[in-house]
């Protein structure tokens, strides 16, 4: 990857020129002005369960897109499919117009689409600095034949270490640089994973639940870090349950439920969408159950059950 060319292209993309998504219709599978990822008819079945059944998805370049949905909605599975960590049963998807169908996960990363994991995967018995250095791309010393000759890679290694140190400073991990990554706290691991992904210098960074298990104080700084990724011109796609975070930082929200995209839109529109509220929070999320008429509730429940039975009877 040509890091110089990329960083100049990033510097031209500023916050001000960020695409205005208010004109994009808030419908599932909406067409974006400048999509970086386009996916069509992606399905993934685990036995009888259809985990992902996405008809059309587009991720806008240069903005923060949130992927939300209840547990089991297929968000992480979709992540795995897009990044090549899992193979779909059908479908096609592309990054920057180039098809990613059947492309191995490491090649997806090399093309500029790097992910983090829901359960952080730091390399516990390597130091924080070594974790970071692993992320650097195009290392001469990673080839078996030149690895033996330190003069072939020492210079590059020092450049990478300098860049790693800058990133560690930005993520406030520079004091931990020589500690084993396994000694970091859960929140620090999230930070390290994000910083390590940045060593690859990705165009699109995919964060799988970046806030899970992070204490509120660290959450604020993590939010800032995610925003700063966008502000330096990267595209961010993240899975999250924390609605405050989604409202706070995302430019666009895609809602999944039972493997399908059920809604899309700006955070404001999506949060008001009754379909989303029902799917995500349940129909009675904002009513106190004590205030409700028990008979009416029962009747409603029975009606729902009846409808379900009816559906089952007529497949």
């Amino acid at each position: 990857m040509d890091a110089d060319a990329q960083s100049t292209s990033q510097s031209t993309t500023t916050t001000g020129s960020r695409v205005d998504l208010t004109s994009v219709p808030a419908v599932p599978g909406a067409t974006k002005p400048d999509p970086i990822v386009v996916g069509d008819k992606i399905t993934r079945k685990f036995g009888g369960l259809t985990a992902v059944d996405v008809d059309h998805i587009e991720i806008q370049r240069g903005v923060i897109t949130a992927l939300i949905g209840p547990n089991g909605a297929g968000k992480t599975t979709l992540f795995n499919l897009l990044t090549g960590f899992d193979n779909p049963d059908s479908g096609s998807w592309s990054l920057n117009g180039g098809s990613l169908q059947g492309v191995a996960s490491y090649k997806v990363a090399r093309r500029g689409m790097v992910r983090t994991f829901q359960l952080t995967k730091v390399l516990a018995k390597l130091t924080v600095l070594d974790n970071m250095l692993l992320g650097a791309t195009g290392q001469r010393g990673e080839k078996l034949l030149s690895a033996l000759f330190a003069f072939r890679w020492r210079g590059q290694e020092e450049e990478n270490a300098a860049r790693a140190h800058q990133l560690l400073e930005r993520f406030k991990l520079d004091a931990k640089r020589d500690d084993f990554a396994g000694s970091l706290s859960g929140g620090q691991r999230k930070l390290l994973e994000m910083a390590r992904a940045l060593m690859v210098d990705p165009e699109l960074i995919m964060l799988d639940e970046p806030m899970a298990g992070v204490n509120p104080a660290l959450k604020q700084s993590l939010l800032g870090h995610v925003k700063s990724l966008r502000d330096e011109g990267r595209t961010v796609l993240f899975v999250e349950h924390d609605m405050d975070m989604v409202r706070d930082i995302s430019d666009w929200v895609i809602v999944m439920a039972q493997g399908k995209i059920v809604a899309e839109g700006t955070p404001q529109t999506v949060m008001q969408d009754p379909a989303v509220i029902d799917a995500y929070l349940g129909a009675h999320h904002d009513t106190d159950l004590r205030d409700m008429d028990e008979d009416a509730l029962e009747a409603e429940a029975e009606a729902e059950l009846g409808a379900e039975n009816h559906r089952e009877a007529t497949p």
């Binding site: 018995k125 992904a197 690859v200």
Partner: protein
């Protein structure tokens, strides 16, 4: 141990437990008076002192003072016993065991060709298991193809000596490719199963009657080492008093330790490089490495090949030093002894396999010689109800196994390992 204000005001809530070193000293003390003939007793004594000091410094936090005291008494007794039999053994003929001879045998083996074979095999396993996390349980197979590669190409195909050496080093590459392609994309367990099965298949195939023409059956092949022996520059053997090598062994250990030194240099050079960093990262979490754009499969394959070539080198050296290739030499035992050597020395440490192989052979040969002498003769030192001379050669493995267990409990990182790395696992 730090005391927070909370702990000072309230009585310690958690149940006080015996100090761990108190238990250690007790175990070592008992072992010293029984199985290890006093060798562990000084350590028991020392551990007991440490435990007592720690308990007295914070009496409310630890129990187990009694255990530590018993450990100390046993340790002192065992140490006295150790000194007595060492003095008797070295200085006088009062014992029917010649301790000087035991040490000489042990040292001869620790520095001799056998230790070299295991050191080379363990260097390969260190790349596989220690650095990359590949579970290769078939190092015997890599050794066998190395050894047979040499013997077959010289004896049957009548190639020149160096041609045989090249084939011996290419054969493990081929085996690694065959084993690696189907299994390296799968979980680590599959490689373990495939390698141990392949090693057994190879051993049985090399020894089979049907392939006797090519591999010599269970008698194996001989008559390929003459050019190797002809290169021997030594006119005589070496006798330094505490070690003694024949002319042939002297040549073998010269070649062998040179090979070990070069191999260690290569491993050191590779493992400090970014390439080595990728391998260690794969050991920790291959999905993370994949997500950063590294071709994990290719790296695992390179590691499997490189470690396999060291295995082949071990087989090649074994074939050269004993001038015959017999299938029985390449049984699964040899793989696990090489693993033992690796774990004693410390996995993922450059010098681990070397130290481990030397210590392993020192113990095996020393204990074997000791128990052999102690059970032989008309009036053996060891009462026959404990063991007789036919059991003596097996007891050394029991004792070595016990020692390995103690090592895993008290120093799981091996001799050269880093305790902090193990602590991360225990989180």
């Amino acid at each position: 141990m730090t005391t927070t204000p909370q702990q000072r005001t309230a009585p310690v809530v958690r149940a006080a437990r015996p100090h761990p070193q108190a238990i250690t000293s007790l175990v070592l003390g008992v072992a010293g008076l029984t199985l290890t003939a006093g060798i562990t007793s000084p350590f028991a004594w020392r551990k007991a002192q440490q435990a007592l000091a720690a308990i007295d410094a914070a009496p409310q936090e630890h129990r187990g003072r009694g255990l530590a005291q018993i450990g100390r008494v046993l340790g002192i007794l065992g140490t006295v016993l150790l000194v007595v039999w060492l003095v008797l053994g070295f200085a006088t003929d009062a014992l029917p065991v010649d301790i000087g001879d035991v040490f000489k045998t042990a040292l001869n083996q620790a520095l001799g060709p056998n230790a070299i074979v295991y050191a080379l095999a363990a260097i390969g396993l260190n790349i596989h298991f220690g650095y990359t996390g590949l579970l290769n349980f078939g190092q015997a197979g890599f050794m066998a193809v190395g050894a047979y590669g040499l013997a077959v190409s010289i004896v049957i195909l009548e190639l020149p000596f160096w041609g045989g050496v090249i084939i011996a080093l290419l054969a493990p590459v081929a085996l690694a490719l065959v084993l690696g392609f189907p299994t390296l994309r799968l979980r680590a367990d599959y490689l373990a199963i495939a390698t141990i099965a392949a090693a057994e298949i190879l051993r049985l195939a090399f020894g089979s009657v049907e392939l006797k023409d090519a591999f010599g059956g269970s008698n194996g092949l001989t008559g390929y080492a003459s050019s190797y022996q002809a290169m021997n520059p030594y006119a005589d053997g070496l006798n330094l008093g505490f070690v003694e090598f024949s002319r042939r062994d002297l040549w073998s250990i010269t070649v062998g330790w040179t090979l070990v030194a070069l191999s260690l240099l290569l491993v050191w050079g590779l493992m400090r490089s970014p390439w080595g960093r990728v391998l260690r990262s794969i050991r920790e979490d291959e999905d993370a490495v994949r997500s950063l754009g590294k071709n994990v499969f290719a790296y695992k394959m390179q590691a499997l090949i490189l470690g396999g070539v060291f295995g082949g080198l071990a087989g090649l050296f074994l074939a050269l030093k004993q001038a015959s290739v017999v299938p029985a030499d390449y049984s699964t035992n040899i793989t696990f002894f090489a693993y033992t050597a690796l774990l004693i020395g410390g996995a993922a440490r450059v010098l681990g396999p070397l130290a481990g192989a030397v210590i392993f052979w020192f113990l095996i040969a020393g204990l074997g010689s000791f128990f052999g002498q102690a059970t032989s003769g008309p009036d053996p030192l060891m009462p026959t109800f404990i063991m007789d001379d036919t059991q003596a050669s097996l007891v050394r493995f029991i004792v070595t196994g016990l020692g390995l267990m103690l090592l895993m409990i008290f120093r799981p990182q091996g001799i050269f390992g880093d305790r902090r790395e193990i602590a991360i696992d225990g989180r």
